[in-house]
Amino acid sequence: MKGSYDIVVSNAKVRYAFTIRRNITIVKGDSATGKTTLVEMIREHYESGAGSGIELNCAKTCRVLAGRDWHILLREMHDSIIFIDEDNEFLPTDEFAGAVRGSDNYYVIVTREGLPNLPYSIEEIYGIRESGKYASIQRVYHEFYHIYGNTRTGKTVCPEKVIVEDSNSGYEFFKGISTTKAHTVISADGKSNIFAEIMKSQEQNILVIADGAAFGAEMDRVMKLTGRRKGIILYLPESFEWLILRSGIVAERNLEEVLTDPEDFIESSEYFSWERFFTKLLIAVTKDTYLRYSKRKLNEVYLHETIASKIVRQIRGIEW
């Protein structure tokens, strides 16, 4: 499945309206905000249709996955938006993550638990905000040019230490452009190590760079840390490759359109997360050119001053 889908579901007592735009959406938040009620209404409408007394408007079939036999049921579910409530023990399992990978469904998962097996985006973590009988689903984490954490709007951040999630091209790029700078650049060697790297760091001002497209499971603990310790800033673009594609150094027809509405181009059964799509796209559009990109080893042309400055210019609010 690809594209974004508006969903409006209502009965005589409550009404939910929201939009789903990626393969994995997480709903979390306080108790008694209506998360389970939403899933229950989706289930009742699927089972009984309009006769349930529930109105549901969506271009795709919305249904619920639950229970011990989830894997048998899921085999029969295609091209649907699937809602899963938090009381399902299969959610954190490798088996479930394997089923989501390559699936042509979108998934809306109610959980407070970080699910590291699933590469979900920081932009697709929502809480339900209710106002009387009307409820909207709103983003939990708010950004300013992809920058998250304790920062004041408009103030330039000057880090002493940069922690990069990546250990390959992304890390080599930020390390390469920092050779004459005062700050140090280290690789966390994976997103799950970022919390520990921040804990180990003694510096006052720390910048974390990670792929926002798959950082969702880490976001809660890292944001809780930024809330309690001053001087931690997160820069979370979709991915390093997305940053290069946005910089204007690559000329490709339709690129602007793809970057504006990626959901219209990214097929969920083909790409587990958007970062993989952007990597594949960048490799494809730079093939046989001097900008030939490899994720494993940075093409040194990206460190050339003219090119590097165009990439870095995308990172607003941080002094390099």
């Binding site: 009381d87 407070r112 970080g114």
Partner: protein, 146 residues
Amino acid sequence: MLSIFYGDMPQAIYNPVVYFKNRYTDEWIMDEFSREMIRDVDRSEVLGPRVIDSPVLGGITPRELSGGVKTLMAIYKAPDQIFNASACGDNCAKWILKIGEKQDVTINLRHLMDFGEETFVIKILNTGQIVHNMDELLPVAGMIVR
């Protein structure tokens, strides 16, 4: 005292809502402490053991209470059991602390619940440490769960 085991705990009851549905009694609902939790978390008023007034859903039975408040009552009324308290949102955290002040309870958490800015006493069973505020809790629990 409140004890917490963070992360996967096979002996914990993963789905406290099902436990509540099959174990709750009229006394669970009419208990004054339960009524306070229902009033605060669900903004609902217990009118009787089988009728609760919800501002959104109207008249409901205990079965339609939120998963969070059902889990709180299960922790409170069945302290010999260990429940997955990640079924509770942060708006339940102060009540978990209050239950821990009343009696010895152990809960399982699979996420970083925010226990607020007040001091508390929590034993983290994974490490044996006793922590007194979120600044002490976060570095320990954050290394175990996300």
